[in-house]
Symmetry: C2
Subunit: 553 residues, 2 copies
């Protein structure tokens, strides 16, 4: 197994941010001047340095793992694979939500596990879970640590000691079945490694979420991830053909490709289980030939409603391409202003000349066989033009593609300057989507407007389906330096109540975690929660598996 | 609700077979002479009249439903909706497998329910289940009665009285959301009714299994049905966006379109639950615009291996059309011989002239937007030609389409003449499929060959996926008139052991029922069975919901 770069403790990316850039807070290194001015004006925000505390100053309680437990765990997985050092524990403390980052930046690592354990096989993992069940030790699976919903919170109502089970040692290709387009891998493997392994065979997997550089395949499965190309290649859960789930009660081998009618779908129960039933120790995924043709393009709509109507038409005729991103007017405007370079200036000019400077930008990304892509692109173009869209060229599409993983890096810089920066997401039917959009925006605006300060709420559709689409919302606001966590929790609560009330799903691809669990009963009903509890009881009778997430208390 | 034709008690189709045709057993009305001669020679079969007993002579035990229970059920659903008359009970006795038909033809109706109850709403169904739970009455949901795996067996280890819950009163359109491509319907609706309702809006659903004329939408969901167009439009379970499941413990509202990451998939637990968790009382399905273009065509391959290799290539590049049916040499030969008319003769001549009379026929059916269909068809043709396929024209494709629902009607005629006629099905990865094919054929051949008699085993791939395909096997043999049930049970056991051993799924689209439940533990493992039992225990604590199917005893 090759060593993979670890995420920095207080932010995104493999390296620690330079103290100088963090300290000045004027963002000169990362935001064009026009963008800073724009944000200041829009938000009523005064840029100011709000740097994180030094890593050495993060407070970490001593490990509560009993010595006897440490010895038995070590006996099981070997010396060196049970770690209680400060660095190991800090790196597995929580995920990368705004609240996670706020806490780590303030020097709070109370979510850190008492130890980090690295099993090497399915059998070892199963034995580990059985042992922890016996010892009363809580287990939180750790892949890339990229959760943005508190998926690694490690909260336990009984306050038992907890370990992070890091899957880094199980990150290799197990087997490749080229005729069946199936690859079997360890759960700790990351996207770039997987693509590298497939590239040699002329294959690709094609799952590209924003967290792609760091997130693991096991994590995608545990949280029902969707990638930027998922409209075309499918959601991650649709690409899992087989899965091994180690539980405190034994090992489940799930899934039987290509398809089965043998009863309820137990693979679908393990997908999205977020570590509450056990730990994913092996995955078989559907791969595909590398596409011969790539065509990324931009379109502009006069309005959000016109853009949605056009996407709905494409969806209805199964004409949505691999990548679909429709930005609302607020996001379109901000993206154009915040993008540096002559390309962005030229595009702004072009849109202004055609009366579209307050319009909505749509990115479409087509991949596949050239003749099929051409035919589909042509049919789609004809529908889009019927809906009043104008083509704005390939450059904007290519530009989006080249910045596809940039947002979480930028977030750190914005946090350095005193901003609240968070995202949330949902999905709804085409009929409900406009109502959900209005409701979320209203809730966020009302919650985050105070004394000359107001939020910037930027939304886009990032995944389309015949029956509806996702909605992804980015919120920027002047941070309340006195009560920053309370400020966001209040806004998030209002937004979630609003989107559920309007018919949206609790989450489209970020998962439930600790952050969404208070709404889980509203999402699936009390009897639905009871069914999940019955499954958990059978597999994890002592409740040691990630007790702080998914199921309401 | 419009009255729908009911299936005949002893066979297929809405009308009782004419006694004269049943009595002569020479099949002159339904099989060309050449086909009869061919079957006689291949099977060592002597055509002989083996007609069913008269319906009036079918033995039916008196209803065991306690009078007090009848009164309370009547109080709940109303007079006329609790039926204990002979005709009502006989019509809900079991399904339409070969074993079902053998029993009914011999005058055995021991699977008949003690009463037939017709609830009208979700609330009534939930109250009914709760009442039956209290009374200790077994409940078997009844839709179209078309199960071919003993799904309606009504077996109960505690031998409690049983009722069939007929869903005919819940068979209307509840709502239609055109922008979201979603229709909400009652579970008792059948395919033709649904298509009629959608046709008015320029829409279609497109799920077309062989049982389409009689099967219900609730039944498709409960059994994870696949239709003849499912390679293109998707399996039934993929088209269910929402479902209401009434259980003895309350009502579950499942599914949240278009997609959600909110935990395990409970909708996927209800799909394929075969009545063991409760009764489906409402379904929301994804519909689509009626395709503007239809192109059905035939291709011929030199061998089964070449045909499979070609399909695998199409699948790999997502080029499989809506309908895919590749027949093996035995099925190709039998179909060509058994098809009457000048078209079939011309095709036989053409194939012979090109040295393909022992080849494999492939039917492809393309539907959708004309330009997209053309581009995909062209790409596919190029791959098929690379694999040595030759095009045999549209007529053979159109002919298949016009006979798509014919097989179960023909089966009755073959049963009348002393034949064993049954089908079984599985699916496997492309890599495992040839082994599964060989193993199943060998097992059936060995089991059904005795004293100059041997089976005719005809196979086809009917559903393709990127990772593998289904395999559908039709078996004809001279019936053992002394022990016909034992003859098939022995062959079925051998075939099932063989296909599981070679890596096939227990079922691809027929479901588990009573017939496959002995293998369910082998399919999903003992811990998997325990998880399903835990779910059932929570929803159906008294075990009244279809106890004879799915879960092993």
């Amino acid at each position: 197994m090759a060593e993979q770069p670890e995420l920095t403790i207080q932010g995104w990316g493999p390296t620690v941010p330079e103290p100088s850039s963090a300290a000045d807070g004027d963002l000169s290194g990362s935001l064009p001047k026009a963008a800073r001015r724009y944000l200041s004006r829009e938000l009523g925000w005064e840029p100011r340095p709000t740097p994180p505390v030094a890593v050495a100053d993060i407070r970490l309680a001593p490990s509560r793992l009993p010595e006897q437990a440490r010895v038995r765990l070590t006996h099981l997985v070997g010396e060196g694979n049970v770690r209680t050092d400060r660095e190991s524990r800090l790196r597995r403390a929580g995920g990368k939500s705004y609240l996670d980052l706020l806490r780590r930046r303030e020097g709070d690592a109370s979510e850190a596990p008492d130890a980090v354990v690295l099993p090497g096989t399915t059998e070892e993992t199963a034995a580990l879970l059985s042992l922890c069940s016996e010892l009363g030790v809580v287990v939180v699976p750790f892949g890339g640590g990229t959760s943005v919903v508190g998926g690694l919170a490690g909260i336990d109502p009984d306050d038992r000691p907890s370990i992070a089970v890091d899957l880094a040692r199980m990150s290799s290709v197990v087997s490749l079945d080229v005729p069946s387009s199936l690859i079997t891998v360890g759960p700790g493997m990351r996207g770039p490694q997987l693509e590298q392994a497939l590239d040699r065979e002329g294959l690709t997997f094609g799952h590209l979420p924003q967290s792609w550089e760091f997130a693991t395949l096991g994590g995608y499965a545990a949280t029902r991830s969707a990638g930027q190309n998922s409209t075309g290649v499918g959601r991650f859960d649709e690409l899992v053909a087989r899965m091994t789930l180690a539980t405190p009660s034994g090992v489940l081998e799930l899934g039987h490709p290509p398809a089965t009618a043998a009863g309820p779908d137990l693979l679908g129960v393990a997908l999205g289980s977020e570590g509450t039933l056990g730990i994913i120790t092996e995955l078989t995924l559907r791969v595909r030939p590398k596409p011969a043709s790539h065509a990324y393009e931009g379109w502009s709509f006069r309005s959000w409603a016109a853009g949605l109507a056009a996407l709905q038409q494409l969806a209805r005729y199964d004409l949505l391409p691999d990548v679909v991103r429709l930005s609302d007017p607020d996001e379109t405007r901000a993206n154009l202003l915040m993008a540096a370079g002559t390309g962005a200036r030229a595009l702004r000019g072009m849109l202004k000349a055609r009366g579209r400077d307050d319009g909505c930008l749509l990115i479409l990304g087509w991949e596949g066989l050239p003749a099929v892509v051409r035919a589909r692109q042509k049919c789609a173009a004809s529908l889009l033009k019927d809906d009043g869209a104008i083509r704005v060229g390939r450059k904007v599409g290519e530009s989006w593609k080249s910045h596809r993983f940039a947002a979480p890096y930028l977030r750190d810089r914005l946090l350095d300057g005193g901003l609240l920066v968070e995202t949330l997401e949902t999905a709804a039917t085409w009929t409900a989507l406009p109502t959900v959009y209005d409701a979320v925006r209203r809730a966020l605006r009302e919650s985050l407007t105070r004394g000359g300060r107001r939020p910037l709420i930027m939304s886009h559709v990032s995944h389309g389906y015949p029956t509806g689409a996702s909605l992804y919302v980015t919120v920027l606001a002047d941070r309340d330096d006195a009560l920053p966590i309370q400020q966001w929790l209040t806004a998030k609560r209002a937004a979630t109540d609003a989107l559920l009330g309007a018919g949206g799903t609790l989450t489209h691809h970020h998962a439930v975690g600790a952050d969404h669990r208070p709404w889980m009963e509203r999402e699936i009903g009390p009897l639905g929660v009871d069914v999940l509890r019955a499954v958990k009881k059978r597999l994890d009778p002592k409740g040691i598996c990630n007790p702080g997430v998914l199921l309401p208390e």
